[in-house]
Amino acid sequence: MITLRSLLRPTRRVHAHCDIPCGIYDPEQARIEAESCLRIIEKHDASDDKLFRARCIHVKEERAELVKHHLDVLWHDYFKPEHLEKYPDLHETFWKTTKQASKVKQSMDAAAARDLLSMIDTVDEMWKSTGGPEKTRVSGRPA
């Protein structure tokens, strides 16, 4: 028996699509902030200046927050369901990487910051192998 409800149920979705804000993505953005965290931790450890060390902690927490922000944007704006098919561990990877960024925010552990860099590099590999550099960067940058 065909019901009214089943007759009116859409069979497919069509997209009134918009790429906005800009369609530009690159894990490099997260990596630069994570590199800042690492360098700041090293400078903190090398200094005896109380004020400087306090500033290091403050700035490092800001940078770590930016790492999380840039990773989040990649996660929910760049990566699409078809990428999940290629990388079934995509969600796990992002969850662990952003958790690692939280760890870097909370601690002054240089090893944790290095781990964060290599985890961002894993995200970078996924971005590259899904055509990110061609699709989500503007071409023509001088080498």
């Binding site: 065909i2 009214l4 007759l7 009116l8 149920r9 859409p10 069979t11 497919r12 979705r13 069509v14 997209h15 009134a16 699509h17 918009c18 790429d19 906005i20 369609g23 699409k80 078809e82 699709k135």
Partner: protein, 135 residues
Amino acid sequence: MTIGRGRPWPLVALAGVVAGAWLSRAARGWLDVVEVQGRSMAPTLLPGDRLLVERLTYRRHPPRAGDVVLAFDPRTPERELIKRVHAAGPHLDLRGDAPDASTDSRAFGALPRSAVQWRAAFRYWPPDRIGGLRR
């Protein structure tokens, strides 16, 4: 909305959609029902709107400017887009009704006529916005 005396057209329209939808079970090849996602066709179409689409018209004549049509995204072929024909010639210039929030031919270029087969004919849901898709 009131479905009251003197304004029976929503009921008539609904009956038409039901008949059409029933036919679509028999002839899915040329009649279908779809749901809209995204906001690039606002205010004409909003997320969750449901439409009757058909593909008999473009067997008779090519798409015309002003038509609301379906086409696969040339950049992401698994995504079926809904846009309005902004200009029709050998190629079709597709645009969203909300130009500031639409990725369309301005980004991916004009599409060949053959890329467009389905025409969006009619919105049957939500009930208070039943009707055609003219601007």
